[in-house]
């Protein structure tokens, strides 16, 4: 047995992560403060990071290492969820935090990084491994990658990886252009495109549910599934992010990335093994199988919406066009609903309805798989229509993660009265165990070189291909916005879209 493995105990020890330096561009930004640093601290708390772990924060603001540590201390204390804050552990963790002020457009900043990385390698023994995390404006991704490459930072004695956050382009062409510049600097297996939805425990649980159990997969096809509804609803509006959101819209912000990835997870074929490429190959195949709409099919299969003033609970809330920083004539969609079809043997003819929106009645993300009804209504005379209710399997992603199965049951008493009942499995409360945040999972994976939950360029392009005809068509339209009131379930046209298939939206 080699010395590396002899002290290991895979049954009880957490996966080992190699020593490395995480270089965060945008270190003074919200994502670093709210998500990245609390996630890294939490990983340190759980002993998941190697002793030589280090963080080098980069942004334009001038500050010393100590000032950076102080700011991060306050952020971690403020945004750490479900965990105690240990001041002694922080002191040890903070020794590995360093800061570098620099402008991404300035070549000197990359030279300064070369020097700092060498110093950190010397003091922390990071084995020259470096993970570059770009928590910046997407428009800076390519520029930073090129700056790193020009300074020789894309290669080293250890491994080099770069993590970028969505959006990966704003359409198919820009996604390809971004890739064209990135791939000149880093190999595809060194580029980690983060989609934090895939890091969510419950999204990963979809794979466990589908492929760890034998009883569901035989039903998971066009023979038994009538249709699938994927809903990602937000009860709040854009709340101060109007200027950003105006450029993106619901289709780009949610459907092109998060929800198509979720759909791929629900519908992909089983991978031959749970390895990064095997799983991503299957996801990519599914995304490529999504039928691309012709321009004349878009109006019937995609609905754009924008909320107007309305009520959220007992509160009067403004419409999108009344939000700060938003054009009063904005044509941005805050709601999008799309019918997708998947052209493969498993799913041919099964509609997948995806909807997402701001200012809907409640915050909920779920996948509802509606099965076909029983072939013979043998209890029809003795029921009030309950028998005709289809079985629905609901995979709830948030807020109460879990799985529910709706079925009909006999009412107690004489006679054969049926009624629908719901059998619930609540993931979070059946197991009170703390689930790691999506960023903890994804950062650890990137440090460990596991890209299973990261998006690959072919997946990104396949997703853009699926939504591009909708974007193109919508860009030629002038919508009569607003077309739904805040606090309602979206525009009437979305109901009509399903009605054409003989379906109705669930009320989650």
């Amino acid at each position: 047995m080699s010395p590396e493995t002899s002290l290991q105990d895979p049954l009880r020890f957490h996966r080992k992560s190699p020593p490395c330096a995480v270089v965060i561009y945008g270190a003074n930004g919200d994502l670093t403060k709210r998500k990245l640093m609390p996630a890294l601290y939490r990983l340190a708390y759980e002993g998941r990071l190697a002793p030589g772990f280090a963080v080098i924060g980069i942004s334009r603001t001038a500050m010393s290492n100590d000032e950076f540590r102080e700011r991060m201390h306050d952020s971690v204390k403020k945004f750490l969820e479900d965990s105690p804050f240990d001041e002694d552990l922080w002191k040890s963790f903070a020794q590995g935090l360093f800061y570098l002020a620099g402008d991404v457009a300035d070549p000197q900043s990359y030279q300064a990084l070369v020097k700092t990385l060498a110093e950190v390698e010397d003091s922390r023994k990071t084995e020259d491994n470096a993970l570059f995390y770009l928590s910046t404006q997407p428009s800076q991704y390519a520029e930073i990658a090129e700056g790193l490459a020009a300074a020789g930072l894309n290669k080293g004695q250890g491994w080099r990886r770069i993590v970028i956050e969505k959006p990966f382009g704003h359409d198919l062409q820009s996604a390809r252009e971004l890739q064209g510049r990135l791939e000149k600097c880093f190999h595809e297996n060194e580029i980690y495109r983060i989609d934090h939805y895939l890091g969510k425990e419950t999204v990963q649980n979809i794979m466990a549910f589908r492929f760890g159990n034998g009883i569901f997969e035989p039903l998971w096809n066009r023979t038994y599934v009538d249709h699938v509804q994927i809903t990602a609803a937000e009860s709040i509006g854009v709340e101060g992010r109007g200027a950003y959101y105006q450029e993106a819209g619901a289709l780009r912000d949610m459907i092109q990335n998060h929800l198509l990835q979720v759909m791929a997870t629900v519908t992909m074929e089983p991978a031959s093994s749970f390895t990064s490429d095997a799983v991503r190959d299957e996801r990519a195949k599914l995304l490529r199988a999504i039928r691309i709409m012709r321009p004349d099919q878009v109006a019937a299969n995609a609905v754009s919406g924008q909320y107007g003033p309305g009520r959220s609970g007992s509160e009067q809330v403004p419409g999108f066009r009344q939000e700060k920083g938003v054009d009063p004539e904005s044509q941005t969609n805050t709601y999008a609903a799309v019918t997708f079809l998947v052209d493969n043997w498993r799913w041919a003819g099964v509609p997948f309805y995806i909807r997402t929106g701001k200012s809907l009645p409640k915050r909920v993300t779920e996948i509802a798989i509606q099965f076909r009804t029983a072939p013979l209504a043998m209890f029809r005379k003795a029921t009030a229509g309950a028998e005709a209710l289809p079985n629905v399997l609901i995979l709830r992603i948030q807020p109460e993660e879990g799985i529910s199965l709706n079925f009909v049951s006999k009412r107690p008493g004489s006679g054969m009265q049926l009624r629908p009942v719901s059998m619930d499995f609540n993931y979070g409360s059946s197991f009170g165990e703390r689930s790691p945040s999506a960023y903890e999972t994804l950062l650890l994976d990137a440090i460990g070189g596991d890209a299973t939950l990261y998006t690959r360029q072919d997946m990104v392009e396949a997703s853009w291909q699926a939504v591009q005809p909708i974007l193109d068509y919508w860009s030629t339209q002038k919508f009569d916005f607003p077309n739904y009131a805040a606090g309602t379930w979206g525009p009437q046209a979305a109901d009509e879209m399903l009605a054409r298939w003989g379906h109705t939206w669930r009320r989650p």
Binding site: L11, R12, G47, D86, D88, E433
Partner: protein, 319 residues
Amino acid sequence: MTQEKPIKPDKILKELSEIWSSMAKPDDTQAGDTSAQGGGVLRACAMTLISFVDDEEDSQSLNETLAGLMKEHPSRSVVVRLREGEDFLDARVFAQCWMPFGHRRQICCEQIEITSSMNRLADVAAIVGPLAVPDLPRVILLRSARIVRAGALRKILPLGDKIIVDSNRAGAPCFGELGGLLDAGHITGDLAWTRITGLRALLAGLLDNGIPGSINIEYSGREAGPEARYMEAWLESALPATKVGLKGSGGDGRGGISGIAVDEDLRIRLNDGGAEYDMHGMHQRASMSKCTDEELLNVELGIVIHDPVFEQALNRITA
């Protein structure tokens, strides 16, 4: 003298069923609260946990530990309280419920408490067997010194798929008995071994790049406690070329591990909730679990298969 009522598993299961039915009904006191009416209770069960304890053990503390376990390992819990003296056997059932923060529904788990005199242990086994939830793992938590003293350990083994002990507790089975369980093919866990997991993981990380010449395990007390013995056995098994030693710091009793010295380069000191060491000229601190019974059992209940690393260490001690 009143005649003892017979205890039948079927009756206990019926009482459990009645408890669930009554809990599913809306609470009259909350008639106006529609969320409570619609909330109900949520049942979850991942295993049967059978705890053997001596009757003197503080029931409140035990129940708190068991309730804590339910969050991660929702179980049907059977607590068998054993006492000396006259013929006695009684059972009662109840549910342990809690309302998770921010949720509408309570989570409830079943608990069956059986109180028995030692001479009725065979009857206890006949009652507990049918009470186990079908198809799910059955785990025995042995905290009764009486069973060990009476040499009755093997009488209860058929009730479970795994038996968990804590060698650090007074009256626990000795290493020889635990080794005997392994030889007989029983899945065995020892909380004394679980207690050193964090320290073992830390050492494994720190010793990743080379094989040390010597490692000294320092313990408080006159005699090395089970944790120190396990650590020594694990290191000897994993690093056969390294000289592993135990060194006591004096004092009374069997002490726990207080530090570990690796060659001249590394010295780990354990203190409350963490380990401290110096590396690359920098002082480092690693957070570690406080190792409450609840935390340790949470780990052990998650492993219902043979643990080769633990078994290798135990076999080394008993060889």
